[in-house]
């Protein structure tokens, strides 16, 4: 957990003396980010049905603080690539990724997005990591909603543990664009 309230002097759990808590900045930022993930669903194929099930009331992605679907990459933190990406679609995926603002994370949902799946042929990208960096890969054809939720919780752990980039810190010149 990110926020760790100091124990009170008497050791009583949960009580905070003086009404304040101490933490580290990285922890707090990670905690805030992992529970306010806006996702952009890049849904191209049948895994989309499982995504819909995950996102809607039956499995309710919002229980984990990543419930808000944004249909603009500019407002999103997490890119969910759900389904088969053809070679022709590759530049579109790259554009969507480039349009997202930092910090951003990518999840490859299902066998096709992760590796090309059963489509081992001329038309399909053999794993989207040849186009954009991927944080979490979800196997399955299609994956169960529980698997997707498990992966997203793992992504939250990853975000929590990440060294946060300070906004005022000058960034190293990137090779992008």
């Amino acid at each position: 957990m990110g926020l760790k309230p100091d124990r009170a002097a008497d050791g009583k759990r949960g009580s905070v003396q003086g009404g304040f808590i101490t933490t580290r900045f990285n922890h707090m930022l990670g905690w805030a980010r992992k529970f306010s993930l806006f996702h952009y669903p890049f849904v191209t194929a049948c895994c989309g049905m499982e995504y819909m099930s995950t996102a809607c009331a039956h499995f309710d992605i919002d229980r984990f603080g990543m419930g808000w679907t944004r249909f603009s990459p500019r407002q999103s933190d997490m890119l969910l690539v759900v389904g088969t990406v053809s070679q022709k679609l590759g530049p579109v995926l790259k554009t969507v990724y480039d349009q997202m603002t930092e910090p951003k994370w990518v999840v490859a949902v299902g066998a096709c997005a992760a590796s090309g799946g059963i489509y081992d042929n001329y038309a399909v990208v053999q794993g989207i990591d040849s186009i954009i960096p991927v944080d979490v890969y979800i196997p399955g054809c299609p994956p169960r909603p529980e698997t997707i939720l498990d992966a997203l919780i793992k992504l939250q752990d990853k975000i929590q543990k990440q060294e946060q980039d300070w906004r005022w810190k000058k960034k190293a010149p990137s090779s992008k664009n």
Binding site: Q87, K88, G90, P91
Partner: protein, 160 residues
């Protein structure tokens, strides 16, 4: 079947000696046709007593390895007769040209582009013969049997 016999007779009268053997593999009428007569024959079939006014599908089969040819398959449907008709046209390996039916049926436009894209048949008289499914810069025609199964041509994602 009487009806089918009359169709054969009528076509034989129109194109003496140009019609291949009629096959009876299914309930549909199946003919092979010399490729030079395809547009003319299709135009005749579309009108008049035949009324094959719907082009249901148009596709291609690769027999290059065994028989040295591609085979175009056209499926028409007659509203008056309530019957399907399949026309097959063989194209030799070294000369994959064929008259376009895009002027007769609008849906032939995209269907022919698809066959051009995936098999490399060149349709003469087509208004805009370019790739429809694959991207510009793709080399070869992937549904030919000679296209290597694992040949990859990743698209340059920095280009639109």
């Amino acid at each position: 079947m009487e009806e089918k016999g009359s169709l054969v007779q009528e076509l034989e009268t129109l194109f003496p000696g140009k019609l291949g053997p009629a096959q009876d593999l299914s309930r549909d009428d199946v003919f092979t046709l010399d490729r030079d007569f395809l547009p003319e024959c299709a135009a005749r079939l579309k009108e008049g007593p035949f009324d094959y006014s719907m082009l249901l599908d148009l596709t291609c089969v690769d027999y290059l390895a065994g028989q040295g040819c591609l085979e175009m398959v056209y499926t028409f449907f007659s509203l008056a007769r309530q019957r399907r008709l399949r026309l097959k046209v063989r194209l030799p390996q070294d000369d994959l040209r064929l008259g376009s039916l895009a002027a007769l049926w609008k849906n032939a436009d995209w269907l022919e582009r698809e066959v051009f894209d995936l098999f490399g048949v060149r349709f003469e008289g087509h208004p805009d013969l370019r790739r429809i499914l694959l991207y510009e810069g793709f080399e070869g025609h992937p549904l030919r049997k000679s296209y290597p199964l694992r040949r990859r041509q990743p698209r340059d994602v920095s280009r639109k």
